[in-house]
Symmetry: D5
Amino acid sequence: MKRIELVEKIFDIKREKNLSWKAIAEEIGGYSQIYIMTALLGQMRLPKPQAAKAAALFGLTPNEEKMLSEVPYRGEQSLVPPTDPTLYRFHEAMMVFGPTMKEYLHEEFGDGIMSAIDFDLQMEREPNDAGDRVRITMSGKFLPYRYHQPEGNFPALGYKED
Amino acid sequence: MKRIELVEKIFDIKREKNLSWKAIAEEIGGYSQIYIMTALLGQMRLPKPQAAKAAALFGLTPNEEKMLSEVPYRGEQSLVPPTDPTLYRFHEAMMVFGPTMKEYLHEEFGDGIMSAIDFDLQMEREPNDAGDRVRITMSGKFLPYRYHQPEGNFPALGYKED
Amino acid sequence: MKRIELVEKIFDIKREKNLSWKAIAEEIGGYSQIYIMTALLGQMRLPKPQAAKAAALFGLTPNEEKMLSEVPYRGEQSLVPPTDPTLYRFHEAMMVFGPTMKEYLHEEFGDGIMSAIDFDLQMEREPNDAGDRVRITMSGKFLPYRYHQPEGNFPALGYKED
Amino acid sequence: MKRIELVEKIFDIKREKNLSWKAIAEEIGGYSQIYIMTALLGQMRLPKPQAAKAAALFGLTPNEEKMLSEVPYRGEQSLVPPTDPTLYRFHEAMMVFGPTMKEYLHEEFGDGIMSAIDFDLQMEREPNDAGDRVRITMSGKFLPYRYHQPEGNFPALGYKED
Amino acid sequence: MKRIELVEKIFDIKREKNLSWKAIAEEIGGYSQIYIMTALLGQMRLPKPQAAKAAALFGLTPNEEKMLSEVPYRGEQSLVPPTDPTLYRFHEAMMVFGPTMKEYLHEEFGDGIMSAIDFDLQMEREPNDAGDRVRITMSGKFLPYRYHQPEGNFPALGYKED
Amino acid sequence: MKRIELVEKIFDIKREKNLSWKAIAEEIGGYSQIYIMTALLGQMRLPKPQAAKAAALFGLTPNEEKMLSEVPYRGEQSLVPPTDPTLYRFHEAMMVFGPTMKEYLHEEFGDGIMSAIDFDLQMEREPNDAGDRVRITMSGKFLPYRYHQPEGNFPALGYKED
Amino acid sequence: MKRIELVEKIFDIKREKNLSWKAIAEEIGGYSQIYIMTALLGQMRLPKPQAAKAAALFGLTPNEEKMLSEVPYRGEQSLVPPTDPTLYRFHEAMMVFGPTMKEYLHEEFGDGIMSAIDFDLQMEREPNDAGDRVRITMSGKFLPYRYHQPEGNFPALGYKED
Amino acid sequence: MKRIELVEKIFDIKREKNLSWKAIAEEIGGYSQIYIMTALLGQMRLPKPQAAKAAALFGLTPNEEKMLSEVPYRGEQSLVPPTDPTLYRFHEAMMVFGPTMKEYLHEEFGDGIMSAIDFDLQMEREPNDAGDRVRITMSGKFLPYRYHQPEGNFPALGYKED
Amino acid sequence: MKRIELVEKIFDIKREKNLSWKAIAEEIGGYSQIYIMTALLGQMRLPKPQAAKAAALFGLTPNEEKMLSEVPYRGEQSLVPPTDPTLYRFHEAMMVFGPTMKEYLHEEFGDGIMSAIDFDLQMEREPNDAGDRVRITMSGKFLPYRYHQPEGNFPALGYKED
Amino acid sequence: MKRIELVEKIFDIKREKNLSWKAIAEEIGGYSQIYIMTALLGQMRLPKPQAAKAAALFGLTPNEEKMLSEVPYRGEQSLVPPTDPTLYRFHEAMMVFGPTMKEYLHEEFGDGIMSAIDFDLQMEREPNDAGDRVRITMSGKFLPYRYHQPEGNFPALGYKED
């Protein structure tokens, strides 16, 4: 059994039962809609109670339920760059603003990254007279590169004031 | 003269004069720091008054000043996927959450995209006891796919309620 | 169920029933032939009334009918560059005239793009004594890059007269 | 001397002399603006009288003037797919509508291609209350695949009525 | 049904019935052996009378017969560059002699291409004491790039004598 | 010194002296025009007497003359697939007819290849009332795969009659 | 039926019957073990008597037996570069020693190649006190590039002494 | 000035002055040899005191010294997969053991990653009678994927015991 | 039967029987957990006694048991670079520290590689107050490039002191 | 200074001084011609005494002499697959015979590789009445995958008889 087949089955049943993602997320509960969607789309795992609820909702087998709570191999179906226009625009924004984000991050925080693991993404509709807008908010913990002292511990150096 | 060489020259003078992006943006003024940085990094154009201020600040020639206000060929230096870890995390987040964002967008708005042109990106430091976070906010106008009526005009159909 | 399999099924039935695209589009109605073809080929969605007509015409299951009105993942079967000579010529024309179109667009409109979303494509036969010609007309809304004012609103700047 | 260096030099002088493409095309004359731009951008050749005018306008050397009237190696600088958003939208439209154009062409004309050689591309501004539009018109001669008769001549078969 | 599966079925029956391509082409008739082979290999379409003969010979279903006379999506199975040594040598010859052919063509004919559509390819055995040779003859119509006059017609300019 | 720079220098002098390939080949002599062109374009070596004549014609240094008679690293500048339309058509023809040529070759000769080394390519103009044609003739020695007998010699087996 | 499926079937039966390649080659006979293995692995054809013996040994159908004696499409399953460490080392050796082999060959033989068609490869165990070694011997006919005389015959020029 | 040019300059002076990496690291001091090497090779930044020592040692300009303490664009020169055999073996080990490391990590820690930012790598010679060995020790902080509670805070869930 | 299908079957049964890798390795025994996992994941072979135990544990057929003890084609499923974030971090670490490891290795040992064949990889949890860490230890035999003496033996030269 | 530039300089002087590789190898001495060529072509290092002789022969600077004895970054200029026909044939042979060599190696030696490090390659002319042949002999030490015993030492298991 492949995770991608399970994702396809979930799409099939969602279509058949005429379910919206909003309704699915409310039914499964306990986590944000974005998180639950990402798990059902095969990019996150569902905690066991949520996997149980998903199994009930979609009529999954015990093995499928278990797979839902396993850590997936992420990103394996992705086309890079994406061909779908909706996905491509996110890619394009990251490409055009990438160097700016890198420079800004280093000037503000020092050497390091925005974590994509201790990370949260939210989406919402932003009403606007000139046409409603999509608002995406990403919040990731700043992780500084750690300097390796000879004695082997990992102090958090003041990498901006050195 | 190539745009990439101008970007390199700006980096050289920024380094020599010990300028921060924040100070540069304040000096040039009129637009957000993110926008000005993106233009100086060769991904946006600077309006002429701002190009003039940038030329004064960096000691640019008239032709270089003019190039700053020309529309650039965007993204030509990008590695896809990026090798730099700071840049890669943005790519990874878009890859992992991409299908979720697409599904969410279509359920909320119907068929269409988040514009990457009528688009705004902001970054800020988000203080947090467990370690400060990077907050990135993207706001793009939702653009619905337009259905093509036989008569040739372009009505905005209620593509969700059809 | 995968969208590509539905496209294949539609091709099979079109072949079996000896249907032309023109007849199919007339039967489904309400939208241009190009739009309906693009939807049946898996690159656009069909509004529900049209999906219902398509389902009747092709003998689709309710789930297949529903899939026809879902937003597809576009472009996933595309070879880039295309190998098919008919498709390749379109690619080649865009490659050869691409820089010209970019320069023309910016000189005429300023910084921005021709939307591929608020976009219409028409094809027609152009009679010509030296051999009939194919005429393709694309019309896309010009979308200007928006400058981000510090105060956060999104004015449409006169990016050509700045 | 490389053609790409000549293109860069033309851009430099265009910038220095504050020339628009429209003015350049009028000065060189004899052909459409799109054609002259495409030649100066290194994708077409200029006939000799036009190359002479271009040389006068841009102050080119005799060898550069001669190169302008040579057949170029087309498309060598192209990124596939393009990273620039303005260029990408053309690529995207061809990808999304590609199968439709192929099917339409074969149903209307039979087996063959739209020539990209006996081909014309025009661009114009299309005024529109909801925002002006970009209109691109491509006209290419239909070229039927020729069936090879055993006797070795190349009749134009009625490939649609066979 | 996919065209590639039909090609595979034809190979299976050819193997089973111990047919040679020569015998197949003679049986189907009306066109050159090379053309008929190319169609059965999924790169050309068969006119209907020939498709009917092929269907009788290979025991095809009506839908398979019909598919044989449809325009295929060409080149989709090609590996570029080819891995098969027989195919690779053709690729290599085009790579090594490519620039020569381009220069020769332009000097002899002016700016343009050898059509791959109005095109004929023949192969034959060339007896030779030092070992027989393969002779491949390609004949394609020269297609000149057309210059676009402002008035919009498409004269064939004397592109070599301009 | 790189071979590609020598090719570029030869192009520069050819342009400056207004030489045609035909005139160059006649001046250098001793081999076909196609061969001499291919050598000057960096894909073949010139025998020493011809290299001496080329050096005189183009005003080359002794080291450049010597390089002309060295075996080149072939194909290193090739784009695969080519972007130039003139070159692309050759690629396309090989892609579309590739499987046919392979099948034909094996049926006619058995297992083996058409040599691209013991190989000749000729081009000529083929007058035709419907528009002149380009005729390309390739003749390559058939090389059979040799079967390896246990005793280690290399008999030419009757690979078709085994 | 695809050749790769036949290879897989042969592996399955080899596993089931606990056969070694050495035993298989002895049973089939007539050719070297390396040759027979290469054919069973889908990269060479088996002569008919050997195909008959292989069919008996592996219990193949008549069509599978016939496929074994057909010329395969070589290299289609290859990953380039290979990921398997055993295969990668061969690739690496060719990459590191490639320029040396090319220079050596041209100095010793003149312009040309080592044929990969009139070619023999042997492997053997080379006992060694410091650990046994793998010895691979390749022997390929040297094929000189042929110079094309104007008169059209193909003399073997003394390409080293010209 | 490009970082890669600075790396090249450092190599040149290291060669000229006959310096070992060990001696360089001792002279610069304050951090592990691996860290200092990685910074001088353009993949980490040097804190300012170390950059000053490096500048003195290598005779760098003030701008070069400053560049050494800037955050680099990492990995831009990397070939993926690497062609160098020494580098390739690291790639190969990660490829062969990758799935194992992923499975082990998730079973031991739950869903998450080994940080490559809060990360330390050490190398040492491991004496061994059968031939000395290279020992590489990587230590990275485990970073659990954080579950996003509806209320928006980021609790560390017991992702293994859910 | 394909190795990848056997891996998938093992995952299915592991899921169904609720087995941990730790328990599986203990049950199979005789080798380290990492080694046994790597074999079950299709990247190493299991010795026959271990294959027998694995067959009993997972209920494999005799042919599947045998396949487990065959040498696999390694790395064939790998995405390069990996898309999964857990796998990507290993790739990233090798990319960022790659040049350092190469330089260190050569300075410490001379010209050669760390073997990925005579190689051991261990993983363990490293408790740490700031968050537990993942420790990965790789130990590979140093293999010096051997210099080839004219007399043909392979002495271990003192490649550092030459 | 880049290694590739040093290789180019050596080629330039070899050409100028009319040196053969054979003469160069004899002059430098101490190692096989193949080894010395590989080092001068930038894929191996020269021991110091040989580097000194090479420096004298080619008139190198002290830094260039030193670079010759440094370990190179191997394979960085390689095109994969190679475009040059001479190089391509080696690639093709490895591709066609790759699976055979892997299977043969494992049956003869067990699980492991032929080392490309403890490795020797020789080339020679093999006189033959049907045309002289190129003989390439590769001899690499067989390296068995080592099984990792729980106790941590690395016994050489009888991997074929387990």
